[in-house]
């Protein structure tokens, strides 16, 4: 049981981050905090992928002449890392669009608090 817990500690961390991110997005009143929640959510998924790629006792995915290329368990799977490079780019782009929206919202309503915003939108 303890071994299982320690062996999967990265995934518990991911779940914790996921919940913190979702909680921030749904229940925080400040729009910037919602955006930060979104970034935490996206980071949790990036960590999930990277953690799923790691193996105990494996090395970087460049062929080592001493190990050869016979046993795939000797190397870490590089594919999730490459996928996550794309996901990081997507996350940066999303954050950029969101920040641009926040600037417009602040210019129009002079507030980023959700309650005040709803008040002023009437």
């Amino acid at each position: 049981m303890t071994d299982f817990f320690i062996g999967h500690i990265a995934y518990y961390f991911v779940i914790a981050l996921l919940i913190i991110g979702l909680w921030g997005m749904l229940f925080k009143k400040n729009l910037v905090k919602k955006l930060i929640g979104m970034n935490i959510l996206q980071s949790s998924i990036i960590i999930f992928y990277v953690a799923s790629a790691s193996k105990y006792g494996a090395t970087v995915p460049v062929i080592d002449p001493r190990l050869g290329a016979i046993n795939p368990a000797d190397y870490i799977n590089p594919l999730p890392h490459t996928l996550m490079l794309t996901a990081i780019v997507v996350s940066v782009a999303t954050t950029g669009v969101a920040l641009a929206l926040l600037i417009v919202i602040y210019k129009r309503y002079k507030t980023l608090n959700e309650d005040e915003l709803l008040e002023r939108m009437k």
């Binding site: 999930f48 969101a98 129009r108």
Partner: protein, 497 residues
């Protein structure tokens, strides 16, 4: 021969067009529109010829950069993908013709970025349709979503707030999809849809696959505005500019519905999602609740665009219901409704754009017969689309509902038959009150409405023609439904349904 490459040539002109239109448009503003039209026209040529090609020779597999799957990215164009691609790019092309004058009125000086972003939007959607790779699908999904946020955000004063909410919920949806994909990748070790489909039945136990499927369905459901996850949709459609909502409403959610069909019936087997674990039953019941609830909400709305947005949620319910029935007739109904709803909703949103162009408002209580005298063609288009939404033959909307009813009877579920009938009645309530105002109720101030005001003042030709093409298509597609079902949709039927 270049034609073998048609799957990549569907999104590529749109992507390149977006990159060319923005800088050239900064240099000379009038260039952006012709470039955008040319790029979309080129893409439309390849989608239509691709559909003909696929119908004649069968499913086309295209390996990007000649890397064989599952290592390389594969584009798979089967009858279903080719069919949905024609709907997406075709509707996008017509809306693009329309958007020119509408943008000059609503968003002066912003046409160049708008055309560029709308090209990106279409590129993302058409890419989602042709790809056969699950991660590639995520990338195209984000391309289309990011441009959709921008299309909403340029609207009226409250639009950025609606767009921000859409962005948050859309990102949650995409993240859930990505997380589900991560689980699926961990279990199967493959990202290719067909390859994954081969591996899943061989797995000894299904725990992780179920988590993966649930997360992916929730993620796509958010993007598709499936009933309890539709909260972003009404605000986004209402506050977007007319051209923006005309882009979003007909095709954005339909493509997500297509992705749902792909995941449920291509990646997973119908036997798995229907018989072993009843995912489709849950989907069908949620959709049935959504159909009624959204129709009731639509009746309560005072703004035309907002009413149409709620009606969209209800129509998405029909598609969800058809997918959820998971039998051949339900599938035909769902796919046919993807097309029919795209055409009907495009007509209705173009009409609401026309009304806004001439009158400057879309409040239903302010409509009267002046509207019909001013814009007779637009009014006729509205009536045709409204009849189709209600489901009166021979308009297109009747036939997809007919197949859904047949599918429900086939599944032995009479409650769904009742739901479809009830929602048609609710549709009558919210469309006929507008038709009544347009055709029957007299102007409240007859003394002020001089001859000049009641004179015909239709919208410009470039806006009127797309509206009328869509309206004619509603009737033509209704008459041709047997041809479409027999020659396209039956070919697209997933195995084991």
């Amino acid at each position: 021969m270049i034609f073998e490459h048609f799957p990549i040539l569907i999104p590529l002109p749109l992507l390149l067009g977006a990159m060319i239109a923005a800088p050239l448009g900064v240099w000379k503003r009038d260039l952006a529109y012709p470039i955008a039209l040319f790029a979309t026209g080129l893409s439309l040529f390849f989608t239509v010829s691709g559909l003909i090609f696929v119908l004649n020779t069968g499913t086309h597999h295209y390996h990007l950069g000649s890397w064989a799957p599952p290592i390389g990215i594969e584009y798979v164009v089967d009858a279903l993908a080719a069919f949905v691609a024609v709907i997406v790019v075709g509707a996008g092309f017509l809306v693009m013709i329309y958007s020119h004058r509408s943008l000059q009125r609503e968003l002066p000086n912003k046409e160049v970025p708008f055309h560029s972003v709308s090209l990106l939007f279409l590129a993302g959607l058409s890419g989602m349709v042709v790809t056969g790779d699950l991660f590639n699908l995520y990338v195209f999904l984000e391309i289309s979503s990011l441009s959709a946020y921008a299309l909403v955000a340029v609207g009226e004063k409250r639009a950025p707030v609606a767009a921000f909410r859409y962005l948050l919920l859309g990102t949650i949806g995409a993240s859930f999809y990505l997380l589900g994909l991560g689980y699926l990748y961990v279990v199967t070790g493959s990202l290719n849809m067909l390859d994954t489909a081969k591996i899943i039945p061989l797995l000894p136990e299904h725990g992780l696959v179920l988590v993966a499927l649930t997360l992916m369905i929730v993620g796509i459901g958010l993007k598709m505005a499936m009933f309890p996850l539709h909260l972003w949709l009404p605000d986004a459609y209402t506050y977007a500019p007319s051209a923006g909502s005309a882009y979003l409403a007909p095709i954005a959610t339909k493509v997500s519905a297509y992705v749902l069909i792909r995941i449920l019936f291509t990646v997973f087997e119908p036997a798995f999602v229907r018989d072993e674990f009843s995912f489709t039953t849950v989907l069908a019941w949620l959709s049935a609740v959504g159909i009624i609830w959204a129709s009731v909400m639509a009746i309560a709305q005072k703004d035309l665009k907002r009413m149409l947005a709620y009606s969209s949620v209800s129509q998405i319910g029909y598609i969800g219901l058809g997918i959820g029935l998971a039998n051949p007739l339900g599938f035909i109904g769902a796919v046919l409704h993807i097309m029919n709803h795209a055409v009907m909703k495009a007509t209705l949103f173009l009409v609401s754009g026309n009304i806004f162009y001439r009158l400057g408002f879309t409040d239903i209580p302010k409509f009267d017969d002046k509207l019909r005298k001013m814009m007779p063609f637009t009014s006729v288009a509205f009536v045709v689309a409204a009849l189709s939404m209600i489901g009166i033959p021979p308009t297109a909307g009747f036939f997809s509902k007919w197949y859904l009813v047949l599918g429900s009877i086939d599944a032995g579920n009479w409650i769904f038959v009742f739901v479809i009938a009830l929602s048609s009645l609710l549709n009558i309530v919210y469309f006929f009150r507008i038709i009544e105002k347009m055709y029957i109720s007299k102007s409240k101030t007859p003394s002020e409405s001089t001859v000049e005001e009641t004179k015909m003042r239709e919208v410009p030709v470039s806006m009127l023609i797309p509206t009328l093409i869509f309206a004619v298509a509603v009737i033509v597609l209704g008459l041709l439904n047997a041809v479409i079902v027999d020659s396209v949709i039956r070919l697209a039927m997933p195995k084991g349904l």
